[in-house]
């Protein structure tokens, strides 16, 4: 048994509405790898997760998870994967403990083993104190943690997590991150995570694919992607009535290793080392007597990255 994911020319068109949610997507995740799908709402992330976890059929293409064909051998796939979907899947009328025990028994644990496993997992996701309470009274964060625990009952080789931290407060998010890191490092679990947050993918993943509109538009390690995209973003707003074309031209020619593009009234500069480059930008502006209303240094958001990739033409970012 292996923890690989191999996806080949996968497409999905929904009969209802005729939306092509996944367009000829191919990728591989190695055993023990932490892989992230980064993309905005509607990109097709959940659709891919549902196909890979045997909940949905693809329109065309093939996918193998843990060595089994998701279309032809769904039962075998289910034994080796754990999945936390975008919406949690718990019964609000059961207690946390009952929910975990039920899950363990469904996966074939004996009565006693199931009890012990539930106890163990409650401890891991820090729900021991709430174990006897009904899930209906859990907070969103507690529900998420329980949902995660449910996916771990049978120690799956591959773990799918569809936006596991969306809607969580920072402390719960950190707790989930910690647990995912531990699973990946200590247990060697292959993790397939989807997220809308660059920061999350950057922090956790060994490799990231950026998906937009059903297509993979860029792939690589966080470092590689950042090298292409620039890990920092300088955004400046020139004063009204200035010569923006000239400013753009001066910045483009004056800065090394930087991508300069225009977005509405702003000029965006993607760079590797923000602080050093910020000084350089200030020097150019000062020398050329260009006035600016505002200048900011930040990390690029997903929006900024898409703008950059699509702005340059996504061809060059395909692998």
């Amino acid at each position: 048994m292996n923890g690989k994911i191999v996806v080949d020319h996968l497409s999905k068109t929904f009969k209802k509405g005729g939306v092509q949610a996944v367009k000829d997507v191919s990728f591989k995740v190695e055993e023990g790898e932490f892989f992230a799908f980064l993309g905005p709402n509607g990109a097709g992330k959940s659709t891919i997760v549902q196909i890979l976890t045997t909940l949905m059929n693809a329109t065309s293409g093939t996918a193998f998870v843990a060595g089994f064909d998701v279309i032809k051998e769904p039962e075998k796939v289910r034994r080796h994967i754990g999945a936390a979907l975008q919406e949690t899947g718990v019964d609000p009328d059961l207690t946390g403990r009952e929910m975990l025990e039920l899950q363990a028994w469904i996966f074939g644990f004996g009565k006693r083993e199931g009890r012990l496993r539930a106890e163990e997992l409650l401890d891991i996701v820090q729900l021991t104190e709430a174990a006897e309470r009904r899930i209906g009274r859990y907070s969103g964060g507690m529900r998420r943690r329980l949902d995660l625990a449910l996916t771990l009952v049978h120690e799956p080789a591959v773990l799918f997590l569809d936006e596991p931290t969306t809607g969580l407060d920072p402390s719960n998010r950190m707790a989930v991150w910690e647990e995912l890191r531990r699973l990946n490092k200590d247990k060697g679990t292959t993790i397939f995570l989807t997220t809308q947050y660059l920061e999350e993918a950057d922090n956790l993943a060994d490799r990231i694919s950026i998906i937009n509109d059903g297509e993979i538009v860029a792939s690589g390690t966080p470092k590689e992607l950042k090298a292409r995209i620039g890990s920092d973003l300088i955004a400046l707003t020139p004063v009204d009535g200035g010569d923006e074309d000239r400013t753009l031209h001066l910045l483009k020619s004056g800065l090394m290793d930087a991508d300069v593009i225009r977005k509405q009234e702003k000029i965006l500069i993607y760079v590797e080392e923000g602080t050093r480059q910020l000084l350089e930008v200030a020097r150019i502006l000062d020398r050329e007597n260009i006035e600016v209303e505002d200048i900011q240094l930040s990390s690029p958001t997903l929006d900024d990255i898409f703008l950059k990739i699509t702005g340059e033409g996504k061809r060059s970012y395909e692998q």
Binding site: L55, I81, L85, E87, T88, G89, D91, D93, I106, G108
Partner: protein, 259 residues
């Protein structure tokens, strides 16, 4: 892997029974309405049974089947309600992600609904005995009445589970239940066929399968072991449950398959 069907079904059923008991308001209202038929109509309408058509029969025994069918429908409707609840909570998907047998995932709530029906029907019969029910055919007749209730409940459980699986929506499933309830009244609910005045109600009663359920129960409660009169109900159940269970099976297949 099919060796696990029994174990999975047991796990699913037990969990459904547990969660039903934790939501008493999912069954108490229906139970009260059903008991209400007995108490109120026995108290208020029992004078009707002095009419010659009743041939001196006990009105309690006449109205009891109405109460039982109402309890049976309410109990069996619990199956659909549990399924809808699971779909809305994402728990249905969680189950589909496990290796649990697909059959058990759908069967669990249906069996739990049938158990609910069984207990509710027993309670109603118990109340009727407390009110002084006398059964022409004795305990054998009570058993037959129970079997008819279970059969008719199964027919309705198939229907409610089918609607639930198809829509995954609580309102739609609820609306589906309301189609079955009027059937109780468009029938020989309060008086025998001969005493129904309106032509349209006579026609409705003849078409309505519930009429045959009532008649077969009343046969054993009031008249005795009259084979063909008893068979009316059995035939109605066979026809209707074949339809609804096929509907449930097709809907279930669609819900667990991967469109």
């Amino acid at each position: 892997m099919s060796s696990n069907v029994w174990r999975d079904t047991w796990l699913m059923t037990r969990r459904n029974v547990k969660t039903t008991l934790r939501n008493p308001f999912s069954f108490i209202p229906n139970l009260m309405i059903s008991a209400f038929f007995l108490l109120v109509y026995e108290g208020g309408l029992s004078g009707i049974s002095q009419l010659p058509t009743f041939e001196g029969a006990n009105y309690l025994a006449f109205i009891l089947p109405v109460s039982i069918v109402s309890a049976a429908i309410g109990g069996a409707g619990g199956a659909g309600q549990s399924i809808v609840k699971d779909i809305e909570n994402g728990f249905f998907s969680r189950l589909l992600l496990t290796p649990a047998s697909r059959l058990s995932i759908v069967l669990g709530p249906i069996i739990a609904g049938m158990l609910q029906l069984f207990v509710q029907t027993l309670l109603i019969i118990g109340i009727a005995f407390l009110l002084g029910l006398e059964v022409q055919t004795g305990m054998g007749g009570v058993l037959f009445v129970l079997l008819i209730a279970i059969g008719w409940g199964l027919a309705f459980a198939g229907y409610s589970a089918g609607v639930a699986l198809r829509t995954g929506n609580a309102q739609a499933a609820q609306a589906g239940t309301f189609i079955f309830f009027p059937l109780i009244f468009l029938s020989t609910t309060f008086v025998p066929y001969e005493l129904i005045d309106a032509q349209w109600l006579k026609i409705a009663a003849v078409i309505n399968p519930t009429t045959y359920i009532f008649e077969s129960m009343r046969t054993v409660l009031i008249d005795g072991w009259v084979f063909w009169d008893m068979m009316q109900g059995v035939i109605a159940i066979t026809i209707v449950s074949t339809l609804t269970i096929t509907f449930a099976a097709v809907s279930a297949k669609r819900a667990v398959s991967r469109g």
